[in-house]
Symmetry: D3
Subunit: 242 residues, 6 copies
């Protein structure tokens, strides 16, 4: 049932339309354009046969992420970080989150001494870019691993379980799923939830923008997140099966 | 009852000794040395009669935080960020968290066009530096506001409610309160919880380091956090009453 | 007639397929995805009501460009410039070229005190990214100007003439049009030509990669460029008429 | 015949006085002060027994260039790039051009695993600093190679052919040779031409500052450039014979 | 006899109270909180089993220093250097001075291929932070060397002689010892003197802030410095004997 | 009498040949090439009608200095600071010293709200670049002030007294004047002395490179410095009278 309080008219527990398009660009070992409604993120997975210094010689691989936003992905143009000469705190925070989330489903020993870098570049932003990035990067990662397997570079599948992410929040007093930009700007509490397909939590980041949130509100948000994650995991499975 | 699984021998729900020492340095409007066991953070609050560009002329104040770690606050020396030429992602993430947490208890209109900067510098690290920083910064903030009130620069108290933070985690399968460095390095799940004195959540940041955490584990962690926050709020009140 | 010397099998004077897709993203005043074969560049035009310091108060506008390449737009992943902390020389050179080329068709007085920034971000690279960027940015610029006219913010059309760009080169001794990556890597001379619809040259940048090129080779290259530019100008007109 | 339209009173095809002074400083393996009229550039060639990472172990050498302008080489003082913390786009563009131009006359295999760095520092600027830099750097490069030969460090002369550069432009409708600052600021088209002593083009960079330039104008400019390059190559030979 | 001209009421040749507290933090091999009156500097000595590139393989060690000031160590808050992205000239100047001063009492051959880094972080500033830093860093250095000796990592004591530093200046025409902030701001000449326990000078840095100083004034200042250094060397000996 | 211990064969109290050439470049208000033997520094004085923020509206001027070294001014090539992206500690230290030294002879009220920037760029280094820079910058400063007076922009001469600088050191046990590079590399003590024409000290910076220096050695060095400064002041007067 549509919720009159949501600017989009969605029901409180309704996700935006999710699309996952594999093979969006041709050079990367995995390349996925993920859309959560109007939010569109290009996630590429690049395989390199080297690891960071702290892992050299240990027989383990590494999975890391970088995040960027095209200057005019947003309503008004933001400065290009390359031109300003540094990545902002928000960017660093998001790319650390994406990296940790994806590492949570990878057996780094089975990967061998390789690095998979997940570049998540936002082409168009409408709220939820970090959750779209995690959800899409998982599919790109699987494609890169399949490429390694196809080339017989690794024997064992290093991926255990799937990972997806969604935002939830309290908007005008109502717990809602998958915030778009209008809701995100106006909501009291904003929470990003990363879960795996075993129903476990990988990351939980909740912030009270307005008033502090109570325990019962948290519980309601987690129920919504669980529903959304289920749908996202299904969308990932569908995309990977195509 | 002491818990044999904790390296420190503390009970699962036992905080480290907390000390809050006001007036630690003399120039700042608020200056607090906060200790959570061996973790020691110097929190100063500096008042300036100007606001960032985006607030100019709006009659509102600003509260912000910066975080640093002395190079040898840790077991092995880390590079000095000033010398490397940039703050790392972890530093930016923490100082954004501290700033958001403290802004959550301030009426910025009542503060007037002033900025209060909370500098949290870790003199010695043993786990939990960000939670100690938030807990100590709150006391420094109150002292700075009292200084403004004593000088009749503001009429109304801009502080509504108290804020404190604590970490919880699952260490060797056991949910425990207030992780020290040894526990933090070895634990499966690490969560930082920021709450106010109304029992509401300001920030919740949980990360699965090893396996994903289940809903019942989350519930157990939140009970521990609530107990710890209660003790920290009491310690803040005691310090402010002295 | 197809040329056996070209890896692509194209005739010496044959362009790759050119596509110009307007309205590719929704926030920018102009947003164009331009493809020269497998090279794909997203060009957005952003209007801002301010000018750089050196133009303030002069009643003139400014047109400028920025260029970026997604880390995995290329065969192997390149470092993200935002993460390295500076834009490389190649990037700066290209964005200066794009900016100069587009300013050549704008009456900055008629634009008024506004800046139009053309962001050219390469989603996929296969040679000729800078010429695709100029060709696509022209269309995005026209769309942004139409938006200004539709909003009655400007009275007079500030755009006089169209601008397009193409590369030519000498590949295995044969002058060819519109180099793709394989040709670009192997060719002796590489020249980028920017022209307007009056047949005039805006920019000419030729580089001998192997042996120096002779005057008669230059002449042959300019004939090819002229043909290619004609086709690109037609493609721009078609796209703008849709 | 002197041209009334040129501020300097020079004929349209007349170069400024060119001086090439070898051994200007004593530490560098090659050190040349080159003057094109009032433009004075110090070009030093430094030999080092190492190559950049991408060439290590390949038995080839490298030739590269850096360009700088003293803060008060110009009419008004510019910021020192070292102090601003980065080299500007114009600087990077010029030093890339100088490096490419000089590499075009060097057999890098015969050079062996060595780097020759050409530092071109403008002591006084009056237009044409990049063309003076290339012309002078060639002489410094030859001196450095002679030094290597004198020390029997290399057997074969790695230099094949000479390289020189000159600017041409259309000033008040008249094609002219070797633009000085007054002409450069006022001209419609500005073109830098790098050629070798075989009459071949190494680099051609033409920019329409005002109106686009036509094919017949380009032809006239190339004739002028050819004449100027001839005189510069003679000046280089004279200097090297002294 | 107290001097009416000094804001503090101290006699012209009277030091502030000096305290040297060893073991102030627990991780560093040497950790000293040194106070010259209200100036408080935390000096840690960190031992690492590596040397800078220019010393590798030479069998010699290195001693270096870094200096920092907490943002609110001063009367008004200064920007955090890590946040501004570079260390200022004053900081670099001081840390170079501290490093040179301490290297002057170390036999780097006896130290072996190790680096000892002396981090001097000012917790509270009231003039003389660099002289306090040198004086305290010496004690931290001795503690780190003792730690190496206790672990039988080195056989021979690499420390020959002690080093201490003090400031002197001409304040309202009167030569005085150990300037505090009020005196430093108002004095005509400011001199920092670093000496060893053999009465020799390690560093002498005098600056005329107002009028130039005469030879007889210099002589008077050196007598004062000699007295102050004697007291500081005694305080170091006392601290190390505790 | 020539001193057998000096590599140059100079007498212990003998300066190198000093040359001061005014009007070396044409754009700057003051432009001086100063040579101390083989050390050659180009010092330009640039006048701008603005002052740094901290002086705005106070009716006072500012005098500041910047220092640079061309990459191959030295025996082996050093990295270009503009390319490394920051000025090193040595550079910052020297330019702060030059700025302080020159400000010591200027009445900033008489200068009015103007900034004079002294750029000291080392074309060739052979020891003593900072003392040559100060000595030459003084002459450039005077020329810039005369230019202001000639243009009737200021009424009162803001320069009171002359400033010059020289190095002294203890080389193989012998106090010597004006160290060249060979001596500087080998000497035990190195001292830079800045004095005015009233015989007063502006700056005194002595460093024990090897053993600490004694009071009687200091005295001998100051006598030498006084002699050298006298000769430099005479050379400045001669140059300014030409």
């Amino acid at each position: 049932m549509s919720d009159p309080s949501r600017p989009s008219g969605r029901a409180a527990d309704q996700m935006r339309e999710v699309r996952i398009e594999r093979g969006y660009t041709r050079h990367a070992e995995g390349s996925v354009l993920v859309s959560f409604g109007q939010t569109r993120v290009l996630c590429t997975a690049s395989v390199e046969n080297r690891v960071p210094g702290f892992l050299r010689g240990k027989g383990e691989g590494w999975v890391t992420a970088e995040y960027g936003m095209l200057p005019r992905a947003t309503h008004t143009r933001s400065d290009r970080e390359a031109s300003r000469g540094k990545q902002g705190g928000r960017t660093l925070e998001i790319q650390r989150l994406v990296g940790r989330s994806l590492r949570a489903c990878v057996d780094r020993g089975a990967l061998g001494e390789r690095t998979i870098t997940l570049d998540c570049d936002v082409l168009q932003a409408d709220g939820g870019t970090r959750t779209a990035a995690i959800t899409g990067a998982y599919v790109a990662l699987v494609d890169a691993v399949r490429w390694l397997q196809a080339g017989r570079q690794i024997k064992q599948d290093p991926i255990h379980g799937a990972v997806a992410a969604v935002s939830v929040g309290i908007h005008r007093g109502v717990p809602v799923l998958d915030l778009d930009y209008d809701e995100d700007s106006a909501c009291d509490t904003d929470m990003n939830v990363v879960m795996n397909d075993g129903g476990g939590f990988i990351e939980l980041q909740g912030t009270a923008e307005g008033h502090a949130f109570r325990r019962d509100e948290l519980d309601a948000l987690l129920v919504l997140a669980d529903k959304g994650i289920g749908e996202l995991l299904a969308a990932q499975r569908d995309a990977l099966a195509r």
